[in-house]
């Protein structure tokens, strides 16, 4: 039985780790400052430097310690919290409430999120239009920018988007780390196919009704972002569903099982990202010659992406989000980040360095805006 023991995975020497961090240091500085650093506003400067240094420290630690998931989870969870904080603060300042009104829908002012994408494909093909009351381009979270960000991220990272880019996944991930040992161990891994059923259902119902049904009725993250004003029975039921799903699938089950149950059992975009995992160049490989079949990797995988059969086959299934938890847990260093086409057990360091650079750069730049906003708001609150 796997215990949460500290497993030594040697990282790089200090100098080498610093050298590997340098390109990330320079490129994130360029992206976070827009190439024109402006240090005139003290609060903004502190927020910028805190975010920038914090991110690069995490990246450095990934190289220095050889651990991936431990430091990925920090930025991933902070991203989820800061994004919710940013959204809620904006809404409370603009509307005095976390809920949006009929006027916001009529004026197409609802911020777009990537979870709508699976529902807008069929209507876009048939009606040549987008079934969402947002803005096509310009303003906060416009449709074009979010689609481009997701499209490129899913092409490059596949389901890695779910652990390195999704600003909701951090909620599940965070709650799944609350307990040291799972209280609920026996969850059938066949539930991991459920998102495909959800995807089919919401894609069809959205096509028939021209309403993004998942957002309208099922999204647990409405509970921590924004939801329709409760004005009648229907909107009351919807709010109840959002809160129940959040409480059950994002809080209670992850705490009890140490698994990311919302991502594993419900998310329709996760199902789409699972398909794009076939295209991405990055993968998780298992060197069968080094593997002692202890199945610690199977036990720690938060997305049910590894089974004993996968271990015997020498690679993770398409459900893998490349979070690195299994890599950190492997005492034999048999499981590692890999590149498709490159045999397992070879070019391990190169593959990990390349994947970490790509995935960390994505989450660092993608999350920087909301993290800086949150730090700045907290500073303003304190001082």
């Amino acid at each position: 039985m796997y215990k949460d023991q500290t497993i030594s995975t040697p990282g790089k020497p200090l100098g080498k780790a610093l050298l590997y961090t340098l390109p990330m240091f320079l490129i994130t500085f360029m992206f976070l400052t827009g190439g024109r650093p402006d240090f005139t506003d003290t609060t903004q400067t502190v927020a910028l430097l805190t975010t920038f240094m914090g991110m690069n420290l995490l990246y450095f630690l990934m190289h220095f310690t050889g651990k991936t998931d431990r430091y990925r989870a920090v930025i991933f969870i902070i991203f989820a919290l800061s994004l919710s904080f940013t959204l809620i603060k904006n809404m409370v300042e603009i509307r005095n409430s976390m809920s949006f009104s009929q006027a916001d829908i009529v004026e197409c002012k609802i911020p777009f999120c990537h979870l709508v994408i699976p529902m807008m494909i069929i209507p876009a093909a048939f009606t040549k239009s987008i079934i969402f009351p947002g803005t096509i381009i310009g303003g906060f979270a416009d449709i074009s920018s979010m689609v481009v960000l997701w499209l490129i991220a899913t092409l490059v990272l596949g389901r890695g988007f779910c652990s390195w880019g999704c600003f909701y996944g951090g909620w599940d991930d965070g709650f799944s780390r609350f307990r040291k040992r799972p209280a609920l161990r026996k969850i059938s891994d066949s539930w991991k196919w459920m998102p495909f059923a959800v995807l089919l259902m919401v894609a069809l119902t959205a096509a028939l009704t021209l309403i993004p049904t998942y957002c309208d009725w099922m999204c647990p993250f409405k509970a921590v972002t924004e939801f329709e004003q409760v004005t009648n029975l229907e909107s009351g039921v919807k709010a109840g569903v959002f809160i129940s799903l959040f409480g059950g699938l994002v809080v209670a089950l992850p705490v009890m099982s140490r698994k990311r149950t919302q991502c594993s059992f419900l998310c329709p975009l996760g199902a789409v990202n699972t398909v794009s995992n076939k295209v991405t160049p990055f993968t998780i490989k298992i060197d069968k010659t080094a593997c002692n079949e202890c199945y610690k990797c199977v036990e720690v995988c938060p997305l049910f992406a590894l089974t004993p059969d996968d271990v015997k086959r020498g690679k993770a299934s398409v459900f893998c989000s490349k979070c690195g938890k299994c890599v950190d847990a492997c005492t034999k260093k048999a499981i590692h980040f890999g590149i498709k086409g490159v045999p397992a057990g070879t070019m391990k360091g190169f593959s990990r360095n390349l994947f970490l650079f790509v995935s960390f750069l994505f989450i660092a730049v993608f999350s920087s805006g909301s993290i800086m906003f949150t730090v700045r708001s907290l500073l303003n609150l304190i001082f």
């Binding site: 009929q102 006027a103 009529v106 009351p133 920018s145 021209l210 309403i211 590149i339």
Partner: protein
């Protein structure tokens, strides 16, 4: 064959690296290019449809939009029509509407924008119930359910 696979894999991985590096500086340009695609417009069920008729009155503008019956591949039998009052509109709106401009009044609307109580009196059997009546950043919007 294995060597070709290996080279292809590494090449694709480096292409991924380049894609992520150019993603953020190029996001504005990529988004604008995507926004120009023919399907990148908001469905009339959300926008309220195109403006069919507008009338400028002292201090405000009144607009009637084209009825929206949009379905997935064909028009639905049930839809809505949207009316907008823009600018400094009266506190109490009372009007008789002929939304399809056929010379016959379709419904009578009374709105007290302070309360905001809204009454719809159908004058034709194609007019149904009230869908939305709300203040907006530009004035007031009314949506009334209609059928063909």
């Amino acid at each position: 064959m294995k060597r070709i696979g290996k080279i292809a894999g590494i090449t694709w991985a480096f292409a991924g690296l380049i894609l992520i590096i150019i993603l953020f500086p190029g996001l504005n340009g990529f988004s604008r290019a995507l926004a120009k695609m023919p399907f990148m417009k908001i469905n009339p069920n959300y926008t309220g449809g195109e403006i069919a008729f507008s009338d400028s009155l002292p201090g405000y503008k009144f607009e009637i939009r084209k009825p929206v019956f949009d379905g997935l591949w064909k028009e639905r039998t049930h839809g809505f029509v949207q009316l907008d009052w823009r600018g400094d509109f009266p506190e109490k709106i009372s009007d008789t509407i002929d939304f399809d401009r056929d010379g016959c009044n379709d419904f009578r609307v009374t709105i007290d924008t302070k309360t905001p109580e809204t009454d719809i009196e159908p004058l034709h059997n194609k007019v149904g119930s009230l869908n939305v009546s709300t203040s907006t950043s530009y004035g007031w919007t009314l949506r009334v359910n209609i059928s063909k």
